[in-house]
């Protein structure tokens, strides 16, 4: 066990006072040497199995160091992972504070070594000793103490016989290589199928919502079918019969939505029963007016002038959208 003390940086002497400071430093050293000797207690090395070690084996060691409370090991003084000797590697170092006992703290160093000694017979080898520096954690203090971890023995064992039987080709002594591990496409493939199934299910839900083929004849999507038909008819919007067919398609959509025939005077009752279409009261009113003019009026062409084909298409599309939005629960309040 050794101890030493150095000057705190804030008390570093100016050039003019070097001689006096040297004397002062010497006296500080004398004063702190005695308590520092007691700063490090017992150092114990424990290893669960320091024998029967083969070439390439990893083995653990635990070093327990008793140090006065307030002293902590300096990270820079711990042994560095890497090759220690030509036959020994240090794999990892970890340090942890233990319980406090009689003013001393038990510091535990966990070390993992790996031996590369190619033994011909069972052989005793010494793990190299090392020193750990403990420094006081108190503010402004620069007292430090060194804990000597002694070297300790391990027993290494040979992997094979001293004199192997003779072979024609010396490469026959070598162990062959195992095949290259393959990549496993299984998880990615399973995930791809799962995504594909999810996509198809989502597509089915979307088709049901939009009343796409083959779910286009559902009564809950009467306006979707009507909007589709109106869009088809809009291709020949100059045609008088196309306009009338489009009006009829919307009538059919209204009838199928309500489950009964809806005439112009039934509109308020229809809107009360189906509040999802409340926002479309005005276009629906104009639709009934145009329908009356087109089918029963004196001048069918006047209906087209008052409510042109693009308005009809837009109304059909809005009805289909309101149908989709208000489909579950029908909770939308009439505004």
């Amino acid at each position: 066990m050794r101890a030493r003390a150095t000057m705190p940086p804030d008390r570093m002497p100016s050039p003019a006072r070097i001689a006096r400071a040297g004397i002062l430093a010497a006296s500080v050293l004398l004063l702190t040497a005695l308590p520092a000797a007691a700063q490090i207690g017992a150092v114990t090395v424990r290893s669960p199995r320091p024998f029967g070690l083969f070439l390439g084996d990893r083995f653990d060691a635990t070093v327990e160091i008793e140090a006065a409370d307030g002293f902590a090991p300096q990270a820079a003084s711990l042994p560095k992972p890497g090759p220690l000797t030509y036959w020994l590697d240090l794999g990892s170092v970890a340090v942890a504070p233990g319980p406090l006992r009689d003013g001393n703290r038990l510091w535990r160093l966990s070390l993992t070594y790996q031996t590369f000694y190619a033994a011909l017979d069972v052989r005793r080898l010494d793990i190299p000793a090392f020193t750990v520096t403990f420094a006081s954690e108190a503010a402004r203090s620069t007292t430090s103490a060194a804990a000597e971890v002694p070297s300790w023995p391990i027993l290494v064992s040979p992997l094979r016989e001293v004199q192997p039987p003779p072979v024609a080709d010396p490469t026959e002594y070598m162990r062959p290589e195992s095949p290259v591990p393959r990549r496993d496409p299984g998880p990615a493939r399973a995930l791809a199928w799962a995504f594909a199934a999810l996509g198809l299910a989502g597509l089915a839900l979307l088709a049901r919502d939009r009343a796409w083929w083959p779910l286009h004849r559902r009564p809950a999507r009467a306006f979707a079918a009507a909007a589709r038909q109106v869009r088809r008819l809009s291709a020949r919007s100059g045609d008088e019969s196309a306009y009338r067919d489009a009006l009829l398609a919307l009538h059919r959509g209204l009838d199928r939505t309500d489950g009964r025939r809806v005439m112009g005077e039934d509109l308020p009752a229809f809107l009360a029963r189906h509040p999802a279409y409340g926002a479309l009261a005005q276009p629906l009113d104009r639709f009934f007016a145009a329908s009356r003019a087109a089918f029963f009026g004196r001048d069918p062409a006047a209906a087209r002038r008052h409510w042109p084909f693009p308005d009809l298409v837009a109304t059909a599309r809005r009805l289909a959208a309101a149908e989709r939005a208000g489909a579950p629960g029908r909770a939308e309040a009439a505004s």
Partner: protein, 204 residues
């Protein structure tokens, strides 16, 4: 009057939700199949890449050369490194080794080191068989360094341990002359002894 403000706020949130529900719902319904299709395409691409890598690995193991880029899957890099090492084309294997060190697991990196070490050891055996002791010793040293790296990465590689033992008996480390500390030094060609039964051919 807090008791009156609260229901109004809750009501407005509910009204907001009622207005937003339709667009949110239809947006989700469109987004779900699109996202799932994208995921399916990506995963199918990954599975296809794995299957293709496996075919290339099988070809390399069968002795057919395949060009392998540095961005290839680690297993394919290992197969190509092994292919090159077995044919003593170590310079070509260097960039692949660097790539494997970046992307591969410790297990695969250890296997690559074993392949290099085995190739070096086979070279050394060939030199010993030809009676060329001096060039054999550095090859054994290279093999031992690679085995040591392999065992650091993969201590469970018992075949590598066995082969390291074989290599170590060809060229012994001698612990004197200040070799107690520090990295393994290159083996001294004068200090060679071998456990090959009988003298290598070509020697008296």
């Amino acid at each position: 009057m807090r008791t009156r403000i609260k229901p109004v706020a809750a009501h407005s949130i509910a009204a907001l939700w009622r207005r937003a529900r339709g667009p949110v719902r239809s947006g989700l319904l469109v987004a779900l199949p699109l996202a799932a299709a994208a995921g399916a395409i990506v995963c199918a691409g990954l599975a296809w890449r794995d299957a293709r890598a496996n075919r290339a690995i099988a070809a390399l193991e069968a002795g057919t050369d395949r060009a392998v880029g540095a961005e290839a899957p680690p297993e394919l890099l290992l197969a190509r490194i092994r292919f090159l090492a077995a044919r003593e084309r170590f310079e070509e294997a260097e960039p692949l080794l660097a790539a494997l060190d970046r992307t591969g697991s410790a297990d695969l990196r250890g296997r690559a080191q074993v392949s290099l070490a085995n190739a070096r050891l086979r070279q050394a055996f060939a030199k010993l068989e030809a009676g060329q002791l001096d060039p054999a010793a550095p090859l054994v040293g290279l093999a031992r360094q690679a085995y040591r790296r392999a065992l650091t990465l993969r201590p469970e590689a018992w075949d590598a341990r066995f082969n390291l033992d074989v290599a170590s008996r060809l060229v012994r480390d001698l612990p004197e002359r200040g070799r107690e500390r520090g990295e393994e030094m290159p083996a001294d060609p004068k200090k060679i002894w071998t456990d090959i039964p009988g003298q290598p051919r070509g020697l008296p």
